[in-house]
């Protein structure tokens, strides 16, 4: 009897020992747009296919995903999960959150996982944006770029070979366009709408302005920075006063500008690369007749700085075995060919040089080639500090007053300062 039980026990031990390793259940939090649950069908399909391929290649890993809000409530959710020790294994985060999440010990360093040769394929500004104290903490996989969208055919119709580079050149073009009942440019200037600030920031940074110092304290109202911001405000005022831009922009977001563009009422509108595919679907002619240009600058010889911003994969688990599995997933999703397919399906801009070179869509489509020029130029991320939201809101809130002439550019800078500093004090004394 004893020997029979002994045999059964030995058989059980052998059976357990010879069975395949227990699968790792990988929990990931992803934004819906970059998941199989995406509302945009091509995005859902490509992610579904890639997830399935990953599962096939890694049978020892079971992928389980949940959705994370891409907005600020997503950040709050991650911070709350961290404080209750319930973090997933990997996440998709807004590039803006990286510093904050590293500070809160949510994101783990990728230094030991991410090979240097692979990092070299990314734009240096991207690596810079996700590196803290010399260590990378996330893999940014896309970016949105803002610039002036225009029809090359309209430009040629007024005898211009290339898009105006300075405000003076833009004003000169505006005079010719007026004869055809057109405005020269429209950029969103709606209060508290972040894209309004982002269009301004590209010019402000191009002039050499800074929003915050190394410690994250607001400095946009000090010395040269204040002068540059006033210069940008003045530029908006002059464009409207001369008729090169309509005053309507003070109540408009990027989407509201499109009817003017579609109806041929304006040469160029401020827009994001993420809206290009939608514009093509709304007006198919644009697919062969739309390009993007950097903002004309108020000072000749200066160039705007393109705002870099996008979503990134990050590692949140500390357990080495799970971290290894999570990194496999991140590596798979950000691998050049797979990421190229995602970028093409969604119409989002890649941040890997190899995708720009090897993917047919990005290497041959005319408008993507013009985005490539922006990509190769100066890029910078918005400051990843809590006060940025207040700064952005305060700066854009002054635009209507400046444009209408109710407030001078210099006073607008001071008004923005007065709106930001009490909030900064509240934040620093929490």
């Amino acid at each position: 009897m004893i020997s029979r039980f002994g045999l059964m026990a030995a058989a059980s031990v052998l059976a357990i020992a010879s069975s395949p390793a227990v699968a790792v259940e990988l929990n990931i939090l992803v934004t819906s747009g970059y998941s199989p649950a995406a509302g945009f069908v091509p995005a859902a399909e490509i992610h579904q296919r890639l997830y399935e391929e990953f599962q096939q290649e890694n049978p020892d890993i079971t992928l389980k995903y949940e959705l994370l809000d891409p907005g600020p409530t997503g950040l709050q959710k991650l911070l709350t999960l961290a404080s209750s020790n319930n973090l997933p294994d990997a996440v998709i985060v807004d590039g803006q959150w990286i510093a904050r999440l590293v500070q809160s010990d949510v994101l783990q360093s990728l230094d030991t996982y991410w090979p240097a040769e692979d990092r070299a394929d990314f734009h240096p500004a991207v690596i810079d944006a996700e590196t803290i104290d010399g260590k990378p903490y996330a893999v940014m996989f896309q970016t949105g770029m803002r610039g002036l969208l225009y029809r090359p055919s309209t430009l040629q119709a007024i005898g211009l070979d290339e898009f105006p580079k300075t405000v003076d050149e833009m004003m000169a073009a505006a005079e010719q366009l007026k004869a055809q009942g057109m405005s020269a440019e429209m950029v969103p200037a709606k209060a508290t709408d972040e894209p309004s600030t982002m269009h301004m920031l590209a010019i402000y940074w191009g002039l050499g302005g800074e929003l915050v110092d190394a410690e994250g304290a607001p400095i946009f109202f000090e010395g040269e920075n204040a002068a540059h911001l006033a210069q940008v405000y003045q530029m908006y005022h002059d464009l409207v006063a001369s008729g090169a831009m309509l005053a309507d922009v003070t109540t408009m977001d990027e989407g509201a500008l499109r009817p003017y563009f579609y109806g041929g009422e304006v040469l160029a509108i401020g827009g994001s690369s993420s809206g290009v595919k939608q514009m093509w679907s709304e007006l198919p002619d644009l697919e062969n007749d739309m390009s993007v240009a950097p903002y004309p600058m108020p000072v000749a010889g200066t160039e705007p700085v393109t705002i870099l911003g996008g979503f990134a994969y990050g590692l949140t688990v500390k357990d080495p075995e799970r971290a290894e599995a999570a990194w496999k997933f991140i590596e798979f999703m950000t691998e050049s060919e797979n990421l190229g397919e995602v970028c093409e399906a969604l119409g989002i801009l890649p941040v890997r040089s190899s995708i720009w070179e090897n993917n047919t869509f990005f290497s041959t489509t005319p408008i993507m080639q013009s985005y490539r020029k922006l990509y190769d130029g100066n890029m910078k991320t918005r400051p990843a500090v809590p006060i940025y939201t207040a700064i952005s809101s305060a700066i854009s809130s002054q635009l209507a007053g400046v444009i209408s002439g109710a407030i001078s550019p210099e006073d607008a800078v001071l008004a923005a300062r007065d709106a930001v500093m009490p909030e900064y004090e509240r934040q620093t004394t929490r």
């Binding site: 709050q76 709350t80 003070t250 209408s404 509240r426």
Partner: protein, 309 residues
Amino acid sequence: MTTDIHATGAAPARRVSARRPKFRLNGYFFFLFPGVAIVLSMTLFPALYGIYMSLTNINLGYVGSSFVGLDNYVRFFTSPDLGLIARNTALFVACCVVLQACIGLAVAILLNQRLPGHQIMRSMTILPWVLPSVVVGLVFLQIFGGSRLGFGNYVLSLFGIGQQSWFSDPVLAMTILIAVCTWRGIPFSVIMFLGGLQTLPRDAFEAATIDGASRWQRFRYITLPMLRPIMLISVIMSTGGALNSLDIPLALTGGGPGNATELIAISLYKQSFFHLDIGYGATIGTIMLIANLVLIILYLAVLQPRREN
């Protein structure tokens, strides 16, 4: 002696019980409890929790919060934008309520006449009210779009009038906002007043007509006083609707240009969901709650039918 003491103690007890029936835990209470509990949990609890949050510095961008006393209220009442927001809100609410009541009453009187097609007109009048507010906002945004593709500018162009920048002028933007919100709210007033008009006793009007009262006198001295309770409810509801109105103003102007048409509800929205400053947003919400209550008390004092001795 002891008998006296009992006697003196029993007499007042009987007097009290004669005035107010003693509360008894009977079967009705258990039937009422679930409904009352659900209503209170959906109304009273959020209101009280909102008041509690207004005393903290809770912000969705940070983990944790602390009690800050009345700091948020001090911040609100010393805000440089307070004057503008209060003026905008007062103008918006006053215009919407007065216009809704006046136009609503006029339309209700018209619909109360047995004119040809009045049944169809009654059904059509309700249409703006059944449309979702956000849809109303977006539709009017298209109508008043500054582009040539905007319907408003297209109509103007038919009369040779040039393109208008509807929302870039603060006065025009506020006028459009008030007009759209009034248009959306009129059907509610019409339904209320029409219901009230149909319950008015005919004999009073017949007696007044026999006594030689003119049409205006019948309206002034019979219709209006008798509609007072309906008017009270209608005005209370439309005041609450206008004061708390967010969807249409947000979709239509978003408070712009700049913050020229910013209402208190938009301010609450921006603080809570843009700046994630939930504590301060709750403070604005609490102030709106108090403003609503104050206005209701005022209306009750002015419009409630008085009982003559």
